[in-house]
Amino acid sequence: MQLRSRHLLGLEGMTAEEITLILDTAESFREIIERPIKKVPTLRGITVLNLFYEPSTRTRISFELAEKRLSADTISFTTAASSVKKGETLKDTVRNIEAMKIDMVVVRHSSSGVPHFLTQCVASNIINAGDGAHEHPTQGLLDMFTIRRKYKKLDGLRVVLVGDIKHSRVVRSNIWGLKAMGASVALCGPSTLIPFDSEQFGVELFTDMNKAIEGADVVNIMRIQLERQQAGMFPSQREYTNLFGMTRERLALLNKNYTIMHPGPMNRGVEITNEVADSESSVILEQVTNGQAIRMAVLYLLSGKKEEEV
């Protein structure tokens, strides 16, 4: 069993077998990060470029650590201290860096489709670390990995994604992945933040939080992107918290043995209360640890795939 593509651009179109391979591989890497020496020599000689055109803490550190734990050489690139400020185009930047002989590129960009564009410019393996509102596949994978570790399965579970559906790449990756694995998915948020064509995903849509989360196994809470609040997508944070915030009272509506997730960074007191974020059923920090294992698995599985083989 192998991945069909030599890039990871998104979870759309991925089969259950491919996702299972990544999750199973990550299970082995999860053990490595618990060892006294958290390092294996697997990617020795492979050079990875982390190309972050957008701010990120978790994802960038997680990828960097995953690369180092596999003994790859890494370069991290942030736009602030680069020639991007002098007006160099994305394509030129990447081609110039690739001329220094790199093998893989991890890219985060505010525009959807940038990772796909890069596959046409350079020969390296491209891994999408979040592109615009399109996808964030490693986040989707680590969410599924976290759920699967707890319930030992994904099919038949009811997962509710709450919050800013419209701008969230995490939501999209979760939908594609969870649907492929046979979970039932529901979306919930203010109607201004749910795209009108969401039905095409084959998911349930709710604007009433209490109805949405009734009987749910997993509630994955998306960050309210406060920087977008200027656009007037919802009247006030206070109202948002009342209608869609994950509060202790709402926990009673969930299935027994429920799980609360959040991809971070959290706006405590807005989409999630402190009580819920720090409760026992919250796996938010577990998600972060698992993220490393998932990224190691993806780097490992893609690293061998050269251009001519595909």
Binding site: D24, R35, P36, V40
Partner: protein, 201 residues
């Protein structure tokens, strides 16, 4: 078209005797079983390690810790193969520091697997010693590695396949050598000339 000659080199009782003898040798060499831990290489090495552990328990009445190791992440040919091998779990739930580690595998061949396993064990800590136990030694080493305990030495050609079948994974039990020399098209001229020596007329 291809003729494969199958030869059984070790049957169920043969494997049992080899495991018993190796267990005794391990205890003898290490002056008991107190300092010993066993690490089996995935997958059949782990099964043999468990059998050695239960034999040692019968002899010495000591439970020897058994670990399981996947060495694929330490291979030297990860990037030269087309497909990445599927990674299995490594489970070493004990400390190897200052222990006598007995590394167990089913077939010893080029020695590259053992090199990878040695590197991985040392990443877990500094053992007092690492010793190697194998059920079959088929020769053709490509690295300076030798076993401390051998079930059976089998002379093979590089094209032969040695298959170890154990009840834990397979339905039957035994060690089979598939002589597949016939798979290769034999240059007819040389065969017909009757000359066996290289360079001979």
């Amino acid at each position: 078209m291809t003729k494969e000659k199958i030869e059984t080199v070790l049957d169920e009782r043969g494997i049992a005797r080899a495991v018993t003898r190796i267990s005794h040798e391990i205890i003898e060499k290490n002056l008991g079983a107190e300092s010993i831990v066993l690490i089996g290489i995935y997958s059949r090495g782990a099964d043999i390690a468990r059998r050695i552990a239960s034999t040692i328990r019968e002899i010495e009445r000591i439970d020897v810790p058994v670990g399981l190791m996947d060495i694929n992440l330490y291979r030297d040919d990860v990037h030269s193969k087309l497909d990445q091998p599927v990674i299995q779990r490594t489970e070493i739930l004990f400390d190897v520091v200052d222990r006598n580690v007995i590394l167990v595998d089913d077939v010893l061949y080029t020695g590259r697997t053992i090199r990878a396993a040695l590197d991985q064990i040392i990443d877990f800590g500094r053992p007092r010693s690492i010793q190697l136990a194998v059920l079959i030694d088929r020769g053709h080493r490509e690295l300076p590695i030798r076993p401390d305990y051998v079930g059976k030495n089998i002379p093979t050609s590089k094209d032969d396949r040695v298959l170890v079948r154990l009840k834990e994974k397979d339905n039957d039990e035994g060690v089979i050598v598939v002589k597949s020399g016939m798979n290769r098209p034999v240059p007819k001229k040389i065969k017909l000339s009757g000359s066996r020596k290289k360079g001979g007329r």
